[in-house]
Symmetry: C2
Subunit: 248 residues, 2 copies
């Protein structure tokens, strides 16, 4: 735990993600590692942060899956984002006081917690890093827009196919998808609350994708059998993920 460990950098999902799109200095990498030191484990189905909280720390996903969600008066739930390793849960609490939604762990997860002051230091002293974090924020915005397009104008089949394509791309970006296979620890109910559908209909649509030989899903693992057809069915154009698309 003393000398700078190159493995530590390779294992950090945020570093992995940012280095795909920009060059980080040794110092930047170390700053990220430093900041990822204080961690907290969260069990599945537990909130990482709840709506209304006014947290003093920003949380960075290191392991596991989480979801941003909002509850409606009638009891309905809408998931508005999936958080995977390398994603910040709540960068906005550095500026906005109150959480206007909750974040819950979908699997056992590990998060780093970073004080607001620490984040502020970072953004003031490391312009390259700040720029990279800003890139990540903007990509997130693009994902939100694409979800609106999906829920608003694609039917159930296209929606589901599109989401699977997106998650595959994102998992690849952090090195968590080998070939066409990756961990997908979501229940059909969670998928339903993401795509604005019922769990029953997710089931039927999933069955159809299987029947057509496009995917294989079981034991929380997804394998894409025919990516070309899947992307085509979804109308998936990965431009909005801006992989490697940063301006310097």
């Amino acid at each position: 735990m003393a000398a700078p460990d190159p493995d530590l950098a390779a294992r950090n999902p945020l570093i992995r993600r940012l280095e795909r799109i920009t060059k980080l200095s040794e110092d930047d990498r170390n700053a990220i590692i430093d900041v990822s030191r204080a961690t907290r484990d969260v069990g599945a189905h537990r909130d990482i942060i709840s709506e209304g909280d006014q947290p003093d720390n920003v949380h960075l996903m290191l392991r596991g899956w989480a979801a941003r969600y909002k509850m409606l008066p009638g009891g309905a739930r809408q998931i508005t984002a999936y958080l995977i390793p390398g994603d910040f849960c709540d960068l906005h609490v550095t500026i906005l006081r109150k959480m206007d939604h909750g974040i819950t762990a979908l699997t056992p997860a590990t998060v780093a917690y970073i004080s607001r002051e620490h984040i502020r230091e970072l953004t003031e002293q490391r312009p390259a890093l700040t720029r990279a974090l800003w890139w990540a924020t903007l990509v997130n915005e693009g994902v939100l827009r694409e979800w609106i397009v999906s829920i608003g104008r694609r039917d159930a089949y296209e929606r589901l196919a599109h989401l699977l394509c997106e998650l595959h791309s994102r998992m690849r970006m952090i090195g968590l998808a080998v070939d066409e296979t990756f961990d997908l620890p979501l229940t059909q109910e969670q998928l339903a609350d993401t795509l604005g559908l019922s769990a029953v209909h997710i089931n039927r649509t999933l069955m159809r994708l299987r029947r057509e030989g496009l995917i294989e899903l079981g034991g929380k693992t997804l394998r894409i059998l025919n990516g070309a057809v899947l992307r085509d069915a979804a109308g998936f154009d990965p431009t909005y993920l801006h992989e490697g698309d940063i301006r310097n």
Copy 2:
């Protein structure tokens, strides 16, 4: 056009908006006015920026309405944001190369265009202003999330009511809503492409809101007759707009 004109500041929608949530120095205000000097008029139904563009300038809405939209292969359209005076159209082009969506003027509009370099200068030299702009970005993200919730889990009636509440709040924030009345220059087709519905169904739902005495809409002007009931029907909780909710 020589001496610093206090009216110029009062008339700038971005200044009006930011001063609701934070204090700007005289210098900050002047910087915004400076930057709003080079303007361009855009006719209704014309693109301000198109998908795939790699613009060198960032655009700031000064007058009129615009919409962020995405087209689908089948010809369907989804609007992902409304831009009103004080909103930036494309802050992301400072970091991301390519526009992954288009922006079109819904009414005759005036936009200021600001070079990327200029924006970068601004963000490097004016921390308070940068913070305020960041606040605006984060609020936008909150709006996107709320739209996902609407389209995903609210029915047509709630959706429409919610959108009207939101637009009312936003118009109030820039001083463009007096009491319960404001300009709403949207066609029913545009509302449909926003809420993921058909124009016909928007019409029926609008009729119902009228019949129930909640709104009065005609001649591109909306008047909210019964805000309490409308908000209740929508499940509208304005927290996500973070009015005045900045941390210092």
